[in-house]
Every structure is written in C-alpha cells, then in structure tokens.
C-alpha cells in the first residue's frame, strides 16, 4: 500500500482493504502470532491486577492533570526550553509543521535528514514534503527503515514492520541495499541495516526525532527507545529537530516515572527500554559533541478540537503504547494498513477523526465490536469504547446545541438510518405496539427473509421463535 499525500478513508475502501486483509491467511497468521506474543509479554509484566489498577489510576491522574493545565504547561515548557537554548516552534497544521522543518533544513544546506521514530512526522507526511523540497528523509528505526525501503508505511506504531516476515525482509535487502546478499539470519539482517545506517548518521546534516514526554519544569524532551537510532539522530548531526503533539507535556520530572514504567510494559512487555534519552538543550560551550541547534515543533493538527470537548479530551491522554491495537480483535484480523491512517487500531479510530475530519474517517469508529479490550488494557484508562460510540453519533448527527461542530460533523448522516432508528424507537417505546409486533413476527416467522444483509454472509438467517417471551410469561400468569 503506497503512502498517499492526503489521508482519506472512504468507507468502501476501508471495507475492501479489510476484506482483502481478512482473506490473507499469511497476514492473519503473522499478526495473530505477533499480537499473541506482545499480549503475553505485557501480561507477564503485570502479575498483580490490583497493583496494575493503582498504577493506571495514577497514570490517568497525571495525564488528566497535565491536560487540565495544558496551555500553562506549554508556555512553561516553551520558556524553559528557550532558557536552555532550544528553539520552539508552533504549527497548527501539517503544512505549517512541514514548512518549519523544511526551512530549518534548508538553512543548514541539508541533503540528508536521518529520522528517529516519530509518529507525528508520519502524521504530517514529512517524508513527502522533504522529497518535494529536494531533500532526503531517511527512517533509521529498523522497522521504519524496512517499510520505507519497500515504499510502505508502518503497520503498527511500535513495531512498524510487524507485517513482514524475515524472508520478505531478506529479499528486500538483497534487492534494494547495495552490496547486500540474501540472508534470512535476523542477526545478519540487522547487521546490514546497522552498517548502512551508521554511515547515514555520520553524514546527515540534520536529525529528527519524536518526543515521548516533554517536561515543563525542566524543559526536557524524553525519548524512549531500544535501538539507539533515536540517540544517533539527536546527537550526531549538527541540528536536532524534535516534533511532537501539543498533548505530550507533563508538569514535573517526577510525573515521568509512572508513565514511562507503564508505557514500556504496556507496549512490548519490557520493564524498561534500552535507552531513555533526556534532552534539555544543545551542545554547551566546552562540550565536545551533541547538536549545535535543537528545535522543538509543537503540532496541533486537530488536537485542540479533541481538547475542546470534555469527553473527547481524554483521547489526548494517550501515551502511544499500542496496547489497544495489540489487544484489538479487529486490528489482529486486518492489520495496520487496512485503516489507511497514520494511527491504526482503536487509538487511530478515536484520534484520526480529529486530524482528518469525520468526512474522511467516519467509517473507522464503526470498525469495532465494542468488546472493550482496548479500554481494559489502556495504561491511562482512556474510555475508548465510549469515545467510539460518541464519534459514531457525531458522524451521523448535527452538532448538539451548545457544542461546536467537529470537522466533518454529520458526514455520515443518512435519512434511511434516521428513519430506521426513529421507527425502532417508536416501536420500542410503545409496549402494546411492541407486543403486537412480537406476536406478528413469531406467528409469521415463515416469512423471515432468507438473506439478511451482512449477517448471512457467513451465517444462517435469524428466525423468530414460535412464541415471544412476553407471550410465554403472559400464558404462565394466566395459569
């Protein structure tokens, strides 16, 4: 699936991709296997359910507290970072964010930008913007490097190449990496990537990274990673540009340990990652390495829309661990690409409508059975099922009085659906009518249609019983 410039997810296309994914045995097996592995690893990190609940309660509290004070904290963060010598930029849209980064890159005569993992840079389609501006943006996270080499996008926010087998990667490297011969040894494949990318780290003019937590009181950008590519991107080139959503800020350094501990355990079942990289400024006089310039780009891209509503605001509590997708039975069946958005799975279904609008994404919140697995594992207790229901409602109705319309509000409005549900309500609020309906449906059950829309694709038709429970109970009471 090739990256598109503008992410737009027509319902028909989502359905096509989902159907194709579901029919792909190989994809089904690899996602199921990988998700089972991650689910097991996470579970092993949380042997004590009540201890986990206490940690989740604290993490949720920290995130809610941070969001409640978001404008103040962003200003404090900007002030501290500026004092530390970091240049802070603000972008409302992907276009603004890209323009800021391209401007920085141009000023430094950039040919090559090396990128650490940053979902926000995927969100703004930075790689395309860089290419259009005549500069190369190279992904350096092994998984991201692999998917970029194959002209794809990540299928998971933590494990970008999880849809690929080592044999596929072996063939890809042999075909696309100069001098590489075919090997399906994982160690040797990683060795090939390492050799290529070290050269790039050394020669790139600019390094880009995401941010996991931004600490307002100290002006510190925290990065979580295992590979060391994030450290390379933020340390070796002369310029480091960090990019993040405005929601990532916390007030105090002491707010980081509870979130960090839950992030890595929820994401990959690790008690901690190899590196936790805390950056508070560029190279100081006397220091011998580190970037001479550090920039932070704070991106809105729809986040203020979610923020404007007290219920939808909880979307912004997310710390991007990916546990909701690992545990999602829908994601497990269709994989990340089927969603067509930067963020797949349950978190994608609730955040993408703010970034791209409901007109482009209204099918996504419907792609859930509301089983609740996502909400159950979310380390910051985002009520994902409730938010899915809310977005389903907003997509099919005008804004409620006193509420500002969401981008694409009412895009899925349908007279037919309105009529069906109003008819349903009319029937189910009139007991006598309802009982008469039940009587008729059971007595004339032979007339039940044999094809019932999507239901009978893989199931036999539903048929009413010969008597309703109402009838049976009424008969019992007469006896």
């Amino acid at each position: 699936m090739n990256a598109q410039h503008l992410q737009f997810v027509p319902a028909s296309e989502f359905r096509q991709r989902a159907a194709a994914a579901v029919a792909d045995e190989h994809l089904r097996r690899s996602f199921r296997g990988a998700m089972d592995f991650l689910i097991g690893k996470r579970a092993a990190q949380f042997p004590d359910a009540s201890a986990l609940e206490r940690q989740r309660a604290l993490a949720e509290h920290i995130r809610k507290y941070s969001l409640a004070r978001l404008p103040e904290l962003l200003e404090q963060l900007e002030r501290k970072l500026t004092e530390n010598g970091v240049q802070v930029h603000w972008a409302e849209s992907p276009e603004q964010a890209n323009a800021i980064i391209i401007d920085i890159a141009r000023r430094h005569g950039t040919k090559l930008m090396v990128k650490g993992k940053s979902m926000v840079s995927e969100e703004i389609e930075l790689n395309h913007a860089m290419a259009d501006a005549g500069m190369e943006a190279l992904e350096s996270d092994m998984g991201e490097y692999i998917v970029q080499l194959d002209g794809e996008k990540p299928s998971h926010i933590i494990m970008p190449a999880i849809h690929k087998t080592k044999e596929e990667i072996a063939r890809l490297f042999a075909a696309k990496v100069p001098g590489a011969s075919y090997t399906d040894s994982v160690d040797e494949l990683i060795g090939i990537g390492r050799a290529v990318l070290r050269e790039k780290f050394r020669t790139a003019e600019i390094g880009l990274s995401g941010v996991n937590f931004a600490v307002a009181e100290t002006g510190t950008l925290c990065l979580v990673e295992n590979e060391g590519n994030g450290r390379m991107c933020t340390t070796v080139p002369d310029v480091h540009v960090a990019i993040t959503g405005i929601e990532k800020v916390v007030e105090k350094l002491e707010h980081v340990p509870p979130l960090f501990g839950l992030l890595t355990r929820s994401a990959t079942g690790q008690a901690i990652t190899t590196y936790f990289n805390m950056i508070s400024g560029p190279r100081k006089p006397g220091e011998k390495d580190g970037p001479r310039e550090v920039h932070l780009v704070l991106v809105d891209n729809g986040r203020t829309q979610a923020y404007a509503d007290e219920q939808l605001r909880s979307t912004l509590q997310c710390i991007r661990c990916g546990a909701c997708m690992n545990h999602c039975p829908v994601y497990t069946r269709i994989g990340g690409h089927a969603y067509g958005t930067t963020y797949p799975g349950p978190i994608g279904e609730i955040i993408s409508p703010h970034m791209l609008g409901l007109a482009a994404t209204h099918v996504l919140p419907t792609a859930s059975s509301l089983c609740g697995a996502c909400g159950e594992v979310c380390p910051v207790r985002i009520p994902i099922p409730d938010l899915l229901i809310r977005l389903r409602a907003e997509a099919q109705h005008d804004a409620r009085p006193g509420h500002a319309p969401l981008l694409g509000q009412g895009a899925a409005k349908s007279r037919l659906a309105d009529a069906v549900w109003s008819g349903w309500a009319a029937l189910y609020t009139r007991p006598a009518l309802y009982r008469a309906f039940g009587w008729l449906a059971t007595r004339f059950r032979a007339l039940t249609p044999p094809m019932q829309s999507g239901w009978t694709v893989s199931r036999t038709p539903l048929k009413p019983a010969s008597r309703t429970l109402h009838d049976e109970m009424a008969a019992r009471n007469k006896r």
Binding site: R15, A18, A19, V22, A23, R28, P329, V330, R333, I334, T366, A367, S368, S369, L370, C371, G372, A373, D386, I389, R390, L391, R392, A393, E394, A395, Q396, A417, W421, W424, A425, L427, Y428, T429, P431, Y434, R435, G438, A441, S453, G454, W455, T456, V457, S458, R459, T460, P461, L462, P464, A465, R467, T468, L469, H470, D471, E472, M473, A474, N477
Partner: protein
C-alpha cells in the same frame, strides 16, 4: 472489573423483576423461561413487567443517542418495587448498570432514578452465584463444555467468573478452556452487519477455537454471541450448537430435584 469483590451483594430476596431482553423475547424465549425457572426453583417470586421492550443498547452502540434515551426512558419506571432486576444477558445488564446513569446525566431527576435502577441490576449468573448462592445438583451425563465469556459481559459485569463458578458446581461438567477465550466472537450488534468480513473472521476463529477443545457443547450468558456462533456453525453445517447458560443449567439440574 465488577462482580469480583467490588460489589456489595444483598441477602437473597423474596421477589425479583425479570428483564427478558429483546433478543431473548423474539428469538430464544426458552432461555428466558429457563432463567425464570431457575429463580423460581430457589423460592423467588419472579415478576415480568409486560411493558418491557429493550434496554436501548442497539441504538446506543450505533450512535443514536436520542432514540437510545427514549427507549431507555420507557424501561426506567417499570420496576417500582425495590427488588433486584435480573437480566439474562451480560451486555444488556451492563447497559442498564453502567450506561443508564451516563445517558440521564443531564437530568438530575432522571439521573437519580437511573442510578437507583442501575444499582439493583444483576446479570443472571452473577445473581445466582453471588446473591442466591445457589447450590446446583448435577443430573446430567459427563460432558465437556466450553464457555464463551462474552466480552461486554466479562468486562462490564465479570460474568465469566460467575458463569464458571456455576459450572464448577456440576461434577459431570468439565469446562474446556479454548484458545483466546477472552476474545470477542465478532457479534458487536450492528458491527456484524456493517463489517461482515471482519465479524465473520472473528466468529470463524472463535468457532474453530471452541471446536479444537473437543467440547460437546458451549455455553454463553449472552444471546447475541450465541446467535452469532450458532448461525455460523449452521452455515458450516456443523452440528455443534451452543446453549444459553440458563438453559444448560436448567437441563442438567432439571425439575424440582435439582434443588438441594
């Protein structure tokens, strides 16, 4: 999670209300009747308000709040006595217990009523095991049974724990744990109509996992899941069929003899 220690359970009452749910009403009244029989066998008088229709969940999960509210409101005042309200379906019980107070949060008077109702809503297996403290006597042949835990029931009502507690009372019943037991069967109300390929894949995997245990039947405390799985099996022309937990319990402990 609820029902696993958080909830304070009252003494066994003399009377209860029974909320049959729309699916059981129209498609499998036998499950409702078996639930009523189980309750009556314990000496509890069961009241079935004839004006009940549906908890409102279908409209709720489809994103039609006004219609949800109207239908929920029509149920709100059907239970005037302070008796427990027994619901033989985990997701409908979860709707009434957890979502009613949110639905009426904007109206202080209705909120009080919704909260009061929510507090006395019990899923059937929860009520039988925790409030009635039922003692079951097994009259059935030895059998192997899988339990589909139903995700909404499991996460909102702790039903998997209660259902297992009840099944464990039956010496002739071996409960076979299937792979990915906690996973959704793919029903999800209108989800099964809106995304048939995904829903079918989930149902198919669930059925395969249950078949793999070699279980002779499977039970669930949620009729939506049962329809989904049973109609999937029938389409495959497979003879395996699941039963509502109430029906399974009634049949194995049958008649008056099942009571200790």
């Amino acid at each position: 999670m609820e029902g696993c220690g958080n909830r304070k359970y009252p003494e066994k009452p003399a009377s209860v209300y029974f909320f049959g749910t729309c699916l059981i009403d129209l498609f499998c009244p036998e499950a409702g009747l078996d639930a009523v029989r189980l309750l009556e066998r314990e000496g509890i008088e069961v009241h079935f308000p004839p004006d009940q229709t549906c908890c409102g969940q279908p409209a709720h999960s489809s994103g039609f709040p006004a219609q949800t509210r109207a239908v929920a409101l029509a149920q709100l005042r059907l239970f005037p006595e302070p008796w427990p309200v027994i619901v033989p379906s985990g997701s409908c019980a979860g709707m009434m217990r957890h979502h009613y107070p949110k639905i009426f949060a904007d109206d202080p008077r209705l909120l009080v009523e919704a909260t009061a109702l929510a507090e006395r809503v019990y899923e059937l297996s929860e009520f039988l095991s925790q409030v009635v403290r039922i003692r079951l006597i097994d009259h059935g042949e030895p059998t192997r049974v899988a339990l589909h835990t139903s995700c909404a029931a499991r996460r909102e009502m702790g039903t998997h724990v209660h259902a297992r507690t009840l099944l464990d009372q039956l010496p002739g019943v071996e409960v076979a744990v299937h792979a990915h037991e906690s996973e959704c069967c793919g029903f999800g109300g209108t989800f099964s109509l809106k995304h048939p390929p995904i829903s079918s894949a989930m149902a198919g995997d669930k059925v395969d996992a249950i078949k793999e245990t070699g279980a002779q039947t499977f039970v669930s405390a949620d009729c939506g899941c049962l329809f989904n799985l049973n109609h999937t099996l029938r389409k495959r022309e497979d003879r395996l069929q699941g039963q509502h937990l109430a029906t399974f319990l009634w049949q194995r402990t049958g008649s008056e003899g099942g009571r200790q």
